[in-house]
């Protein structure tokens, strides 16, 4: 068994690896017979590089796209056996079809672990590179950083810094490679020494001040810190010098804070004209005489209302909307998700259907007073969704006085009750809506109440009969046309 030796040009020679691997596969060279070297050790081998082979590069090998992505990472790892591992995986992918479906294969897991280590190193370089400005005669300073990566990641990471600091001249020096951006192109060079990079400056002192003060001494968690910022990075992070001092003083500082007696405030910051805080029991206050103002006060009071438990879970109350001069008042059940978020009645899907009905009837919504029997949204959480729940009779009863106050202020000539809850609130007892729909009943205030279904019932209904149901609903609503004809009482 002879060994084929492949000398790659440098540590991260991706094209070289792909070309060689393709040829080796085409030639049927098993992984045990291939040995890989990177530029640095190439001299050790005296055998011809793979380029001298007569094998056809045309022979295509197909691999999953994810495998190529994986290898692009793995090749950056410092482990000298990485190219052999990659080739072995490639070989096995050709010969063991099951491999691509087995996420627990040892070679795969090892490659993944290497890719992960490289990913972490790439990330830590993005995090811990620290630029310091150097004034080299040009108007804008050159920003220079010293960094010690674990793997061969400088080339791969340079575009990130280029995208982030496009209009800054910068250079990153590392022991094995260096890279420089002059505003228009990236140049890679040999490694450098730490002393080639500038030392700390005044601007960095500000950063240290920040680091010192953003630390909360009452929450010392050194293990957590070391897990994310391993010690090997500390010597190149200026703030790391503060760690031992901050740590040492943390316990005494916390102890002093806890032991210290409460102090008497020495001064007060002037309270500037703040609005009078809204009383949490605004409901008990007498209402203003002007109906417009009275409605505004009621709106505010419903927002604070906790007479039943649904108020605390809702965002806000959804109060009625429309001119105080409206002749017709439309009463729905309760706000839904959209209404709760926007604080306005009938703006969700049922509201859209309602708007469409108004349009078809030729009515103007701005001349109607639209409200709900219950002012807060009652829902049940299902995962991240809020599912509408019908208010209980008790909740509707607790809310009734708000609706009555609205009726009192607006003094409509007639009302439309949409659905069972609204009907019950207005009539005073349960009414079978499907039987009573399209008829006028007399409400608690001796006002005529037109009963019909709620638009959300149409949305929930059988799609095949939706058009028909909608026409029936329009017919119900149209009974109130004469109250709309005169529009406002103005």
């Amino acid at each position: 068994m002879s060994t084929v030796r492949i000398a790659l040009e440098g540590e991260i020679d991706w094209d070289g690896f792909r070309a060689a691997a393709r040829r080796l596969i085409a030639q049927g060279v098993p992984p045990e017979e291939a040995s890989w070297s990177t530029g640095t050790e190439a001299d050790l081998f005296d055998t011809p590089s793979v380029d001298a082979w007569a094998g056809s590069a045309e022979a295509t090998t197909t691999v999953p796209a994810a495998f190529v992505d994986l290898c692009e990472r793995v090749r950056l790892h410092r482990d000298p056996s990485r190219f052999a591992l990659m080739y072995r995986l490639l070989w096995r992918l050709q010969h063991e079809p099951a491999l691509r479906h087995d996420p627990l294969d040892a070679d795969r897991l090892r490659a993944q672990a290497m890719a992960k280590a490289v990913g972490r190193d790439l990330h830590k370089m993005r995090a811990f590179v620290r630029f310091r400005p150097v004034h080299d005669g040009l108007p804008e300073p050159l920003h220079v950083a010293w960094f010690e990566p674990e793997h061969h990641i400088v080339e791969a990471n340079a575009p990130f810094f280029m995208r982030r600091f496009t209009h800054m001249r910068w250079a990153i020096l590392t022991p094995r490679r260096s890279v420089r951006w002059d505003g228009s192109s990236l140049t890679f060079g040999p490694g450098a020494a730490r002393s080639d990079a500038p030392s700390s400056d005044a601007g960095e002192a500000l950063w240290l001040t920040y680091y010192r003060h953003i630390f909360n001494p009452a929450r010392l968690k050194l293990d957590q810190m070391r897990k994310e910022m391993p010690r090997r990075y500390w010597r190149n992070l200026p703030e790391a010098e503060l760690i031992s001092e901050l740590t040492a003083h943390a316990l005494p500082r916390t102890g002093r804070m806890v032991d210290a007696p409460a102090t008497v405030p020495k001064r007060r910051i002037a309270l500037l004209a703040m609005e009078e805080p809204v009383s949490r029991s605004a409901a008990s206050k007498p209402l203003p005489n002007d109906p417009q103002k009275a409605l505004a006060a009621l709106r505010m009071a419903t927002d604070r209302c906790r007479e039943c438990p649904i108020g605390e879970h809702a965002t806000q109350s959804v109060f009625g909307e429309g001119p105080v001069t409206a002749r017709l008042m439309v009463v729905g059940e309760q706000p839904g998700d959209k209404e709760d978020l926007q604080g306005r009645p009938f703006v969700g899907p049922a509201g859209h259907l309602f708007d469409k009905a108004l349009e078809d009837l030729g009515w103007d919504r701005t001349q109607l007073y639209v409200t709900n029997a219950v002012k807060h949204f009652k829902y049940e959480l299902r995962g991240q969704r809020r599912i509408h729940k019908t208010p209980t009779q008790r909740e509707a009863e607790a809310c009734l006085h708000w609706l009555e106050s609205e009726i009192e202020q607006v003094k409509p000539q007639a009302l439309i009750a949409l659905g069972a809850t609204a009907t019950r609130s207005l009539i005073g007892h349960a009414v079978p809506v499907l039987k009573a729909r399209g008829t006028w009943l007399t409400g608690q205030h001796s006002l005529p109440v037109l009963v019909t279904v709620h638009p959300s019932a149409l949305l929930r209904g059988d799609p095949a009969q939706r058009d028909e149901a909608y026409r029936e609903w329009l017919a119900d609503l149209s009974q109130a046309a004469r109250y709309m004809a005169g529009a406002g009482r103005g």
């Binding site: 479906h101 087995d102 996420p103 990330h123 993005r126 995090a127 811990f128 590179v129 630029f131 990130f160 995208r163 982030r164 600091f165 496009t166 209009h167 800054m168 002192a205 500000l206 950063w207 001040t209 920040y210 680091y211 003060h213 953003i214 630390f215 909360n216 009452a218 929450r219 010392l220 968690k221 050194l222 293990d223 957590q224 994310e228 910022m229 901050l246 740590t247 943390a250 316990l251 916390t254 804070m257 806890v258 409460a262 102090t263 405030p265 020495k266 910051i269 500037l272 004209a273 703040m274 809204v278 965002t315 806000q316 978020l341 926007q342 604080g343 959480l381 995962g383 991240q384 969704r385």
Partner: protein, 422 residues
Amino acid sequence: MNIQGKLAILADAAKYDASCASSGTERRDSLGGRGLGSTEGMGICHSYAPDGRCISLLKILLTNFCQYDCLYCVNRVTSNVPRARFSVDEVVQLTLDFYRRNCIEGLFLSSGIIQSPDYTMEQVVEVARVLREEHDFRGYIHLKTIPDAAPELLARAGRYADRLSINIELPTETGLATLAPEKDAPAIKRSMARLRVHIDDAKEAAKGDEAVVSMPKSRPKRAKAERFAPAGQSTQMIVGADAADDRAILATSAQLYGSYRLRRVYYSAFSPIPDAASSLPLKPPPLVREHRLYQADWLMRFYGFGHEEIVASDDGLLRLDVDPKLAWALAHRERFPVDLNRAPRELLLRVPGLGAKAVERVLAARRVRRLRSDDLKRLSVPLGKALPFLLLPDHKPRVIDDAQVAAALKPAPVQVQAALFA
């Protein structure tokens, strides 16, 4: 006062805010612009403080003068801490300088309430405006919005910021009324709702953008949809400053996630502060309680747990000795063991020690092989924790009992803060 002195005071004042995330926003870079900065979706922690927390953003207050008197807050009006105020330009210059040094991903700006909510919000928004418009800054910006600031100010904030947040601070309305008299729970919820509506609208409009681009024979292109806080909104709740138990806290979180689509709820264990108010007769809660809440939050967001099923005990508190998933499993022994090779995803997600990623890989591997305990080890699943709840071809668990599970677990590295105050 010089900038160094102000920075010291205003960083100190900001350190109790738990959030420092800089992830989840749109991808941007400074190619083709005049300024600097980029975001690639995943945030970067540029440093860590000895409190274990990531430093990703320059997190400061514009000013720590505040006319509110929230008892848990170091900046409350009755506190004697030294006060300072940055100018808009000072914050801008600090942000740009730290960013050029690659110390930060961007800015997280908050402020004490001065003059009025609107005035304060305007100043905060102005910093973001100058960064974005005058310096073409493309890094991350997180603004703390002031509840009850005018809707137009919120709208402007969303145009410049990647993330907006409003801290709810306490899980119940009564807690807020007691400890933060000037804060108004309904106003906070209203603001969150407003933000959600803006964020939803912007997302919806952005979808429209794509649709137009992908059409063949493009019609005249619509103006690009206005962006609005692409990284969404978040909030913070203080734990242990009032008597609310974990059940109440998680119920509030679930409600916030469901109602306002928050990206994160941050839990911040009430921390001793210098110059504490006399009416705060509290020992700080152990930090591990905060940790358990984060774990429970995780269960709600990624593991399909309902908020009401996580806390089992009568006292309404999460167990401190074991994590919430293990606690749930111990309280529901009748559901275990589950067959690793057969159980559906939802059930596997409830097995202690099996993370969401591990479950995905188990499901993938199951299609080609029958999994044994060795395979689990390769997935770095903690066997001591998971095996008592799993049925495998080479493993049959005995009756699960607390002591046995506890013995199989390494003692959890729990940093209990309480020892200090015992």
